[in-house]
Symmetry: C2
Subunit: 199 residues, 2 copies
DNA sequence: GGGGAGTTGGACTATACAGTCCATCGATCT
DNA sequence: AGATCGATGGACTGTATAGTCCAACTCCCC
């Protein structure tokens, strides 16, 4: 079974492995990343992998948690700052810039994992679904901020709007990474914001 | 190397293998589907797989072509019928009904393949990008039909609108399959159509 | 009926991979 | 100094899987 690290050294080792595994899985996918790849990339040993994660499933779960925390952390932070439409545009522009800087590769780590794992493993599916839920809550928070400032109609259906916005993000990221063209993400986000502005 | 079947028997065998491989890959993903799985599901032999497809890469390419033809065929057909907003709503309702009937599993075959393969294989990425391009052209055709009937402004940016619409479809399908809830697809499509109506 | 081409069956190989196991290291506490 | 316990190294095993190979079968044509 997997062991929680107790010492500083152990925590650092575990963190190093998770970060490297997340990067490898982001590039090559879960099935395309072997434990030997992770071992080589972290100059760790087999026993460390099994000591901290139990098995490959445990490592993938750790990667899901890691990416969820990373992406959601950034999104909660950025969306929490939104006060007006300009702020929302800046949030969208930042996402496009980040993707563009990566050469439109990789897309959304959570979205890519969700596409690959949702149909094959129920535990992973639930974890990723919860990540999306938290993302929607962050979006809903920004929309409420706009409502409070009378920039968005107070009777707008926030539930529906947050879902369409997150769908635009995920769909835009998928199209961008498939075409290697970040303008497709930009078009999707521009469309989503135009839709919000007219709601 | 892969051989094109010459006889009726050969064409049927090849088609049977591709259809079964597409189904298996749709459920378990490319990496989760072994050639032995395909062989067992089609009661064929190893030599048939290598005779018709050369290697696993060739089989996956055949599955991409098969799914592209299937999905695009249905989409071109349905979108080609659209004459007014009600027609577009019916197209969206049909997609939701299809997904709902599947228990919101699987999502879009093209989208799932794109998420998994775009970053790891350039040939697959290009083929899937072309499938998305054709899909956008089908959507653009429907929007032009609406423009001709003065239901959509003649100066609307069709390029941008088709991309946001396809992003809504793909994002909605991803959220629906991750949450196992087809109403997320419905919300995404409703949002997209509302946005189109106000453009 | 003989021969050739397309098609098929299935044994076989090589290897990559997940997972196991045990010995050892090293810090901390007594 | 010795005991304890978390952390580490790395050899080893079993199996799943991609890919190879060759013999055999089935048509069809001559």
């Amino acid at each position: 079974m997997s062991q929680v690290p107790v010492t500083d050294q152990g925590r650092e080792t575990r963190a190093r492995i998770v970060a490297a595994a997340a990067a490898l899985i982001g590039e090559r996918g879960v099935a395309g990343t072997s434990l030997d790849d992770v071992r080589a990339a972290t100059s760790s040993s087999k026993s460390q992998l099994y000591h901290y994660f139990g098995d490959k499933h445990g490592l993938v779960q750790a990667v899901i948690d890691y990416q969820s925390a990373l992406v959601l952390g950034a999104q909660v932070d950025a969306l929490g700052r939104v006060r007006d439409w300009d702020g929302l545009e800046r949030w969208a522009d930042t996402m496009v810039a980040v993707i563009d800087a990566r050469g439109a590769r990789g897309g959304c780590p959570i979205g890519t994992l969700a596409a690959a794992l949702s149909d094959s493993d129920e535990r992973f599916r639930v974890a990723l679904s919860e990540a999306f839920d938290r993302w929607r809550q962050a979006i809903a928070g920004a929309l409420r901020a706009l409502q409070e400032r009378r920039l968005l109609a107070s009777d707008a259906d926030l539930e529906a709007l947050t879902t369409t916005t997150l769908a635009a993000i995920q769909g835009g990221l998928l199209l961008a990474k498939t075409s290697r063209d970040s303008t497709q993400l930009k078009a999707a986000l521009d469309g989503a914001i135009t839709h919000l502005r007219s709601s």
